[in-house]
């Protein structure tokens, strides 16, 4: 999870390049993606997990919050509780289903938020350049100078436990790398001949950004951001594990892993389930992101 740089050698801002799109680009991307069976499979799993999260109230067999201590820590395969029960006698299957909501939210929301804010900062400073660029990017660099886990833990530790604070800290952690990628790509695009030409012909800055910059820039940032989702999920579950993330009794996978920790001797399988869910989701996001990257031909 220390791996904000996990998908790119050293510093992403130095190596990501804008995509030069030709007509039929997206259909060829789709064709290439379809051939990558592993990525398609990962995508299907993620769709399933997403459906599970959306439909949780309809498919969960029981109330994820209702427990009976009398039936606590039942093993996997107990009648009525196919995946056993947790330390308060709550149905593990239902909690894992509902948990998808929290865990996906904690993985995806900060990345989306950081994607919007980071892209905005990066594109603006890359396009405007000059003093604005210096001020914005040096500020970003300060945050980029912290290892991601350290920054996330320090922020959450300072703000205190809770879902909102954890989301906020993760968002702040992911803005700098995305902004740096966006800035680097935008700067490259800005200096291209066709942009110079558009500017010379009197197109407004907004039009240029919309037509020439966004189209070429968002793709690489998007691929980069999908790779961050798995990092965000593991980081978020880690925060919950430390007691700095979601608070009980919410069925978030990292928190469930934490509260079931002491049961790992008596019901190892039950205690391992939330960890397995985090693992499956995060590996699916990684495989999907790999597939997208090679399909879209982003380095």
């Amino acid at each position: 999870m220390n791996s904000i740089s996990s998908f790119l050698p050293a510093d992403p801002a130095k190596t990501i390049e804008p995509i030069e799109k030709s007509p039929g680009y997206w259909s060829s991307v789709f064709k290439r993606f379809k051939k990558d069976k592993l990525a398609v499979f990962a995508g299907c799993i993620l769709v399933l997990i997403l459906l599970m999260a959306i439909l949780a109230p309809y498919i969960a067999p029981m109330d994820p919050y209702a427990g009976r201590t009398i039936r606590r820590l039942r093993p996997v395969g107990t009648e009525g509780f196919p995946l056993g029960t947790d330390e308060l006698g709550r149905d593990m299957l239902s909690r894992l289903i509902y948990g998808a909501r929290y865990s996906l939210m904690m993985g995806v929301t900060p990345v989306i938020a950081a994607f919007c804010i980071g892209s905005l900062i990066g594109i603006v400073s890359g396009y405007v350049g000059g003093k604005t660029n210096t001020v914005l990017m040096r500020t970003i660099d300060v945050f980029y100078a912290f290892p991601s886990v350290l920054l996330a833990v320090a922020l959450s530790g300072a703000l205190g436990a809770g879902l909102g604070n954890a989301l906020l800290s993760l968002t702040i952690v992911f803005i700098p790398p995305i902004a740096r990628v966006a800035e680097a790509v935008t700067t490259q695009v800005r200096n291209r001949d066709y942009v110079e030409a558009a500017r010379a012909s009197g197109a407004s800055a907004l039009t240029i950004i919309r037509v020439h910059v966004l189209g070429n820039v968002l793709g690489p940032i998007f691929v980069y951001a999908t790779g961050l989702i798995s990092v965000a999920m593991i980081l978020a579950s880690g925060l919950s594990f430390l007691g700095l993330g979601v608070r009980p009794p919410e069925p978030e996978w990292g928190l469930m892993l934490n509260t079931l920790r002491t049961a790992i001797y008596t019901q190892p399988l039950v205690a391992a389930l939330p960890g397995a869910m985090i693992f499956i989701t995060s590996i699916s996001f990684n495989l999907l992101s790999d597939g997208l990257r090679s399909a879209m031909d982003v380095k």
């Binding site: 209702a66 201590t69 205190g160 436990a161 007691g243 001797y265 008596t266």
Partner: protein
Amino acid sequence: MGLGAGSLLDLSGVSLSPAFAQGASTLRIAMTASDIPIPNGQTDQGAEGMRFVGYTIFDSLVLWDLTKTDTAGGLVPGLATSWRVDPADQRRWLFTLRDGVTFHDGSAFDAAAVVWNFDKILKADAPQFDQRQAAQGRTRVPSVRSYRVIDPKTVEFVTAAPNALFPYEMSWIVMSSPAQWEKVGRSWDAFVRSPSGTGPWKVERYVPRERLDLVKNDAYWNPARRPKTDRLALIPMPEATARTAALLSGQVDWIEAPASDTLPQLRSRGMQITSNVYPHNWTWHFSRIEGSPWNDIRVRKAANLAVDRAGMVELLGGMMVPARGLVPTTSPWFGKPNFEVKTDLAAARALMREAGFSVQNPLAVKAIISPSGSGQMQPLVMNELIQQNLGEVGIKVDFEVMDWNTLLASWRAGARDPSSRGAHSTNSSYFSQDPFTALIRHVDGNLHPPTGTNWGFYADPALDALFAKIRSSFDDAEQLSAIQAAHAKIVDDALFLFVAHDVAPRALSPRVRGFAQAQNWYQDLSPVFIA
């Protein structure tokens, strides 16, 4: 205030002597604290600090009887052989000191040393005054007004008002060696690197955050309490799962507070599980300010009758005693209350109906809880169970989750303070080893915040009168009957949601022998040996 030069390689703890002499027996204990309690004397880390560092390296004038396992032991002579109150002036106490006691550094313990140690925590302009020890010790002796040497074997203490509970206060204050403090250069930072007390254990090596190695004191003044083990190693290990793994892998011989879910595994691997009830209290402390729903005695009683304590016992793997009052029923202070604290849902629903509430039309209450904390047992699961139970009789509980330190700060500030966020109860577990901490400080009408810790702003003249009687009864029997009457009244008025007493589970390797767990926060490690 450094522990030495800040070089990467200056990592020495206390001494560089090899800690692991061959053939010597070592008892290795994993504590729940995240750091070694500071071996300066008036140590930190709460009761666990006093248990493993306070009363091992040091002694107080008055000690606890740690030999009884079937009832709560009382106070016994420590560095003082006897104490008495002056019949002519009940504010004046005389403590007679033990003869022939020496500190680990060889210097003699006498009346001057006692006065020096009280100056250490109470006299801000004394050279040996230590802010750190003062913060720990000062609130333990609120009655003390003055003290002086009468002769080398006698010390006089004067209290603010007659206070029969004064010896309990004295049990808190332990004696560090003045001579050692002088010898190491009149510095507490230097003192902790080679501490010296009068206790049954001497410090051999201190590695902050990692390990404290103690060796037995063969010259301990009480021959009965000379340690049977050569060495004692204390290791901080805040993670319950890590402690279990450490015991199972043979890294330690003794762990404090194993998680209840690991007990079956520990038992199956031949570990001994010891436990015993002790003066610990896990309650919901009700707010009694205007508008609190707990002002209605029917609601208070209904809640007490709704809690499924038997279910909670199962939840905690048997590691709790259902509470029937503020003190366990084995305590001499329990008395004879009329209200029986038990589970009776029908009676609880009837009371709630009478008060105008039902499951369909529930009463909403807001409760402060913490996710963890010293003595809090397993607060989240326990509170979730209570939330379920109360829901079944028509009390809808909404939690305000605070981390342990924030909860303590709001507990000090009181129910009216914004930091308590308008909650109707708080959930802080209590040390309740003496009548003041067990009963008085929570409900005494004169101890409203910020003066005291009567968080709920409760006041009842009848109860206050009983408290005054406890403080002014120098006759033991008379004092006991006042304590019993006060406790019975607290139970009958259901002033708290009585839930549980911890039983301080410990898991010991099969090789550990000789340990008898006393009904006390502190334990005697001297008779323990490794087979």
